[in-house]
Symmetry: D2
Subunit: 136 residues, 4 copies
C-alpha cells in the first residue's frame, strides 16, 4: 500500500515545479490540492485552464499509483476534460479522482475538480494512463 | 480580418505568463509556437503535459478568433487530447489548428501538436469553445 | 417533475426502434435498460458498440429531461465513451446517468454502462447536450 | 496490403447486420459508406446518433486494419465524437478516416462523417483501438 507521505515525496520529484499536495490516497480514489497564487491566474481573476488540466492529470496519476504501486513510467494517453464553471481566484484547486478500471496495460479514472470549499465542480475529466509491462 | 500582429498582442495579454507566439492565422487555421525552456520540462527530459494542453487550447483559441474576430469572453468547454509520443526536450512546441465548425454558440477545431521540425505529432486534440451571444 | 411513466412514453416515440425502458429518473440521475436480443449481438457473442453508445446517449437524455422537463429539441453535441470490458451476450444492458452540470444552454452528465447484475461497468461515458433557448 | 474487396468481405462478417460498404482503404486512410433506410432514421427525419457512431467506429477499424492487416481482435477503447449538424434523411452516411498514430498496442485515428455529397461534416470523431499482442 502506497502511503500519502510516500506519494507526496514521489509527486514532488515528478512534478517539481508544481504546487501539489496529496491529501488522500486509498487504492480506489485520491484527493490532491494545488495551491493557487498569482502565477496560476489569468486576467479577469480566474485559474488558468492548464492548471485544471494538471490537477486532473495528477489526481488520476496519484489514484492509479495508489492502486498499482509507484510505477514512474505510467504515461497519460488520453484526457477528456469538460470545463463547467469559472474557478475562484482565491481558493486552492482540489482534484478528487475515482478509479473506473485498472487493467494490466490501461487504467482509467474520472476526476472532479473543485475550488476548495465550494460544492459545485469547476471541471470534470476522464483520463487513461498506459501502464508499462512488468519486467521479470 | 484579424492579423497575426493583432492576435499576438491579444494573446500576450490573455496568456501573460506564457511563451506563445502566433505564427499564422487565416480564418480556417492557425499555427502557434511555445518556447521550451527548463521551466517546461519534467524529469526525464520531456515537455510537461499541461504545456501541450496549453498549446492545444491556445491554438484553438487563435484559430476561432481568427474567424470570428477578437471575442475575449470565448471559453473552452471541452478538450479531448491524445498523447502520442514523447516530445523533444530541446525543441519548441508547435500547435496547428484546423477549424471543424464555427457556429453561433459553439466552435470546434482540431489541433496537431509537434516538436518543431519533427514530422510526427506528439499530441492531437479536439476542443470546443463557447462563444458568448452578441449584444446589440 | 417528469415521472418515469411519462418519460417512457416520450422515449418510445423518440427512439422508436429501440428496446429501452426507463427504470428510474429523479432530477439528479436516471437508470435505463436496453433489452438484448440476437439483433444487438456481434460475432463472438458480445453486445455491439453502437448499442452501448445508444444506452449512454439515451440515459443522459433521460437524466437531463428529468431535470429540465421534456424538451424534445435537446441534441447531443459531444460524447466521450471508454469501453472497459466485454459485455455479456445474455444480459440486458443498464445505463446509469449522473448529471454533472445542467446550465442554460449546455448540460453534462456521466453514464456508467453495465451488463445487468454484474458489478463492474462495461463502458463509461461523459456527454454534453445542447438545450434550445426558451421561447417566450 | 489489404484490398478493398478483402476488407468488405471481412467487415460484412464482423458487422453482419450493418449496411456498410468499404469504398477505399490504403494504409493511411479509409472511406466507408452506410446505406440509410427508414430503419436508420429518427422522428423528425434525421439519422440516429448510434448510426453515426457506428460509421465512425467502423471507418476507424477499416483504417487501422488497412495498415496492420486483418486482426479481428482489435477493440475500441475510446471514442470521442462531436455532432456538428443534422444529417440528411435521404443521403447515405460517409465516414472518412485518417490515421493519426498506429503503435504496437494502440492505434488512433480521426473520422469525418458526412451526408453523401454535402461538403460540411455532420460529425467528427477521434478514437483509439487496442491491438492485441502478436503471438509467435
Amino acid at each position: 500500500m502506497v502511503t500519502k507521505d510516500l506519494m507526496n515525496e514521489f509527486i514532488n520529484t515528478q512534478f517539481p515545479q508544481s504546487k501539489i499536495t496529496v491529501e488522500h490516497v486509498d487504492g480506489e480514489s485520491a484527493t490532491i490540492r494545488h495551491k493557487i497564487t498569482d502565477a496560476e491566474l489569468r486576467p479577469g481573476g480566474t485559474v488558468a485552464g492548464p492548471v485544471m488540466f494538471l490537477v486532473a492529470d495528477c489526481a488520476l496519476y496519484v489514484g492509479i499509483l495508489g492502486r498499482i504501486g509507484i510505477v514512474p513510467l505510467a504515461v497519460t494517453t488520453n484526457m477528456n476534460i469538460n470545463f463547467l464553471r469559472k474557478p475562484s481566484a482565491d481558493r486552492d484547486i482540489i482534484g478528487v479522482c475515482k478509479l473506473i478500471k485498472v487493467g494490466k496495460t490501461l487504467a482509467i479514472g474520472e476526476v472532479s475538480v473543485y475550488s476548495e470549499g465550494l460544492a459545485d465542480p469547476v471541471a470534470h475529466a476522464v483520463g487513461t494512463y498506459a501502464i508499462p509491462p512488468k519486467k521479470d
